[in-house]
């Protein structure tokens, strides 16, 4: 299977028309309302990556989900706001019918080899092949594009009387399904593949959705490519749930213990 044929590459595909890129929602990556946020983050990042003026590789991406995306085509306006010797800042906007639906910013950089060190600790968990895959039945369509193996932290949705969990921590293995070599786009998308922390903590589904997502990449393209289609270990947790918004922090680890990305998001929620 070539990348061109993979559903992920289809879903993030763009065509350039003058100064804008045109994309289209993919039913395969549909969420409860509109598309899966991860695929949108990846699509916006792809617009910057494919821009003829792009220099360097992604270091940071912030995506603000300002309104639901309707099924169909969308326009991406992407421009280099400032290009320096080693860094480049991008502003990105996704519109439908001339209205802003998503705003985003991205930082690209030409990295230099430096002293390097990881302080975060990789969670000690069983390897992916010892954990059963999450059945995708009854879950939003986008979940079928991932092989997710949840080590800890999935809500007990079968029991309406389930008690509140002590924490919202989730540890999960995730990879594309069908398999696809890891790159910045798939890592960006996987960074949003955790179910809302409020589901895990409260052991029930309530209205919730990501409003703003930030990803910091701690790897270069060559490093990501070296992991091919190996699973990524994600750990996610919430710090505070407060009057309609909670935050989620997450780490994305390679099987052999490299911290490939850290990511944070703020998520709206209601009581029920």
């Amino acid at each position: 299977m070539t990348n061109q044929q993979h559903p992920f590459d289809d879903a993030t595909k763009l065509r350039k028309e003058g100064n804008i890129f045109i994309g289209k929602t993919s039913p395969k990556y549909a969420n409860m309302v509109g598309p899966f946020g991860g695929i949108i983050a990846a699509t916006l990042l792809r617009a910057a990556l494919e821009h003829p003026k792009r220099e360097g590789e992604p270091v940071a991406l912030t995506v603000n989900y300002a309104a639901p995306i309707s099924d169909g085509e969308f326009k991406i306006h992407v421009s280099p706001a400032r290009t320096n010797r080693s860094t480049q800042h991008w502003t990105i906007e996704l519109t439908q019918e001339e209205k802003t639906v998503i705003t985003a910013t991205a930082l690209f950089a030409k990295r230099q080899k430096t002293w390097t060190s990881t302080e975060a600790q990789m969670p000690e968990v069983a390897s992916a092949d010892l954990i059963p895959s999450l059945p995708a039945e009854g879950l939003p369509d986008w979940v079928q594009n991932y092989d997710m193996r949840i080590v800890q932290g999935f809500p007990d949705l079968t029991n309406p009387d389930a008690e509140e969990a002590k924490t919202s921590i989730t540890k999960q293995w995730v990879k594309d399904q069908p398999e696809r070599p890891l790159d910045f786009l798939s890592l960006a998308s996987m960074s949003d593949s955790f179910f809302p922390r409020v589901f895990i903590r409260r052991n029930k589904m309530v209205p919730a959705g990501t409003v703003s997502l930030t990803i910091y990449f701690h790897a270069d393209a060559e490093c990501l490519a070296s992991y091919e289609a190996k699973p990524i270990l994600g750990k996610a947790w919430a710090n505070r749930f407060y009057d309609g918004f909670f935050d989620q922090s997450a780490e994305m680890w390679s099987e052999d213990g490299k911290l490939l990305a850290t990511t944070n998001q703020i998520v709206y929620y209601r009581d029920e």
Copy 2:
């Protein structure tokens, strides 16, 4: 002392000219190169807060420091990208001589009372009055506007042979000096008041600067105001230092254990 007279309020002061706000760098908040990033974050947030179309209170702010700000005047272009029933998304740009220097996005919301819970643990530290204030001599000018009391994690810059520290964790009490009632603006600025993690970890100064900063607010205006000028406990750490960029995560706590904000940033660094 009224707010109008406080150096912080002077430094973030804006005048509206048509659709743009004009601000001016303040020597009191100067950093090594250009102004302190925290005062700029606060100034951009103030532009959105003072915009006649603003609805709700700040929930998230991302600021990208695309280039150094020169001393003198700057323009802030701030516009509501999308206004919904309970949320409002802003795009913000700071320019000098028609060039983009900073890009930013902000999320405002009208919060509703909901189930609320804090999962992060407040660090157990001695109260602020038991910790000596950091002498500001030899440090950048902006530090003089803060009473900083460092509980843990300050580099030993007096000893060129100091060994590398085991972690980059810092715990510090911080408040405005002179005192000023806490609000979103001062909390945003304090969120950037940690010295670069690479200084702490490597026990030496190397070139380093914040490139992108994200703040999530977990409090409303009334809650912040209730803390008056009490000190805030900040805890900051790095997850990974990798080839020129490291991330910093931080928590901002009230004295009585409320998590008022969580904040993340990506910072460039060189070996020396």
